[in-house]
């Protein structure tokens, strides 16, 4: 992915809202050093400079914009993206709610008209043969049918940018059977038919499917379920935030996964990560946002 970004031959300007944590600063520094980003660190300049010094980073590599608090920093980052002074907005040490409030502001925010705000992530796993995209572990708690369709389209679009023309998208549940106790299986059946009829394009879609049928080729043979995804999923779509979030965190904790992700539905890419993510993950997020910009 980083190669693809470097091939673009551009430096994307990343505005970081409340750049007060060392991990984020180090990650953005890596991107600047690698040559595909410029950084605008927004926050209390004295604190930011102090962090740079203690991390042994040259603060002159960054532009620093002094702001008093997290809310103002978020609004400033968004404002810069709106008027073209930045290409990408990144969340620093500010709460997701505060940050997204600035992004979603009706007058001064970054939302595309009528677009859904949603998050797509890409996980690199030593135990899976390719990059695994998932949605939505960060923004939408209980997506309804229309939201699930929007999520699917965002994820397909992201996979396309990575060069995957017809990504296999698995609609995840606890089983592959239709079940009246699991309303999501109803949404999934509808989406599959829409994909069959070309109403959701450029993908091979199936669901409900459990994780094994989605990602494990042996399971397909054992269970004998005919599915075009065949244990070779590119994208996993989850029925809720409470299922997708623990899933990716479990992968990071137990399977040494690295996650990069992006907010979709905005005019400019928005990078959103949690404090507990590794620096490498943060670096990949920045690279991903540059790819999608």
């Amino acid at each position: 992915m980083v190669e693809k970004v470097l091939a673009q031959n551009r430096r994307h300007r990343v505005a970081v809202a409340w750049a007060h944590d060392p991990g984020t600063v180090r990650a953005i520094h890596m991107a600047v050093h690698k040559g595909f980003a410029e950084a605008i660190l927004i926050g209390k300049s004295s604190d930011i400079i102090r962090i740079c010094k203690s991390e042994n980073l040259d603060e002159r590599l960054f532009s620093v914009v002094d702001t008093e608090n997290e809310t103002i920093a978020s609004r400033e980052a968004v404002r810069m993206a709106r008027n073209g002074d930045a290409d990408i907005v990144m969340k620093g040490l500010v709460g997701t709610d505060k940050f997204l409030k600035a992004v979603m502001d009706k007058e001064n925010g970054l939302m595309l008209p009528d677009a859904l705000l949603s998050y797509v992530g890409a996980i690199e796993l030593p135990t899976y043969h390719k990059l695994l995209f998932l949605t939505d572990p960060a923004v939408i708690p209980f997506p309804d049918l229309d939201q699930k369709i929007a999520m699917a389209n965002y994820a397909i679009e992201m996979a396309n940018r990575f060069g995957i023309n017809r990504p296999k998208i698995a609609l995840i549940g606890a089983s592959e059977k239709m079940n009246k106790h699991f309303e999501n299986s109803v949404d999934y059946a509808i989406m599959c038919k829409m994909a069959e009829r070309g109403q959701i394009k450029s993908c091979i879609m199936d669901g409900p499917l459990d994780i094994f049928l989605a990602c494990d080729k042996d399971s397909i043979e054992i269970k004998g379920v005919p599915t075009p995804v065949k244990g070779d999923a590119d994208i996993l779509l989850f029925p809720s935030l409470e299922s997708s979030n623990p899933f990716y965190k479990g992968l990071m904790l137990f399977a040494k996964g690295e996650l990069a992700g992006l907010i979709r539905g905005t005019e400019k890419p928005v990078v959103l990560m949690s404090r507990s993510e590794s620096e490498r993950s943060k670096y990949f997020c920045i690279a991903l946002s540059c790819l999608m910009a």
């Binding site: 592959e176 239709m178 109803v186 059946a189 509808i190 599959c192 829409m194 109403q199």
Partner: protein
Amino acid sequence: MVLKNLNDLRRLVEGGPRKKLALAAAQDQHSLGAVVKAWKENIIEPVLIGDESGIQAICASYNYDITSLRIIHEPDIEKSVETAVRLVSSREADILMKGKIGSSTLLRCVLNKEWGLRTGNLLSHFALFEVETYHKVIAVTDVAMNIAPNLKDKIAIVNNSVACLIRLGYEMPKVAVLGAVEMVNENMGATLDAALLSKMNQRDQIKNCIIDGPLAFDNAVSLESSRQKGIKSEVAGDTDLLLMPDIEVGNVLYKSLVFFAKAKVASIILGALVPIVLTSRSDSEQAKFDSILLAAASIK
């Protein structure tokens, strides 16, 4: 084994003993005439239950020779239905047919909890059409019984119909779930049900058939039409069973086929212990005969 026309059903009744048909409230020329004809053509063996003198009078004036037929005398209409139903549940008859009695009264007896013909399944109407402009017979359900079936009802209706088609010799009948359009539209319940039924079929939760939908009527019966729309479907153009979204469109289709396309049709009720023939006075002689033929052919 493809049934090209309704006459092909005769192949299924040849060889082996004739199935027994119990005609309830048999003092009725319309049903009696059809039963006698089917008997003479070796399709079924009738048992006539009803007012004996009434039965004999009709047969005399219409010249039906019923000398060797079994008649069970029961002048009371409702009791004659009970007798007919009990005959079936005690395995002395294989088909139940309606004579001089309203459909709802007959069905009430069929659904009797003590001595009726309940199986726990939903009852549904099954019609088999022979249309000159289609390459084989085509089944349509449910055009007369279930008014506004929900998803659960549709599953039952499909299962009833597919089981019947299997008994008629089909291996993997193709089922088209009809809608006004072939795309899924969240405002059109029929298209949503179609998506759910398709997925259940793909997951082998509805078995022994291939289900696709939503399909508009032209997509279902015309391969050319489905190709023009760019529809990829195993069912389009080669449908064996049309699942109607509700009774209104079903009934209109049924009657359009009969009046405008001059189609021949056979109808039975499925879901009870045995097939039930519920022909009415407005049905043609041919339709009554073919319904009896279908009932007999559909029993294994």
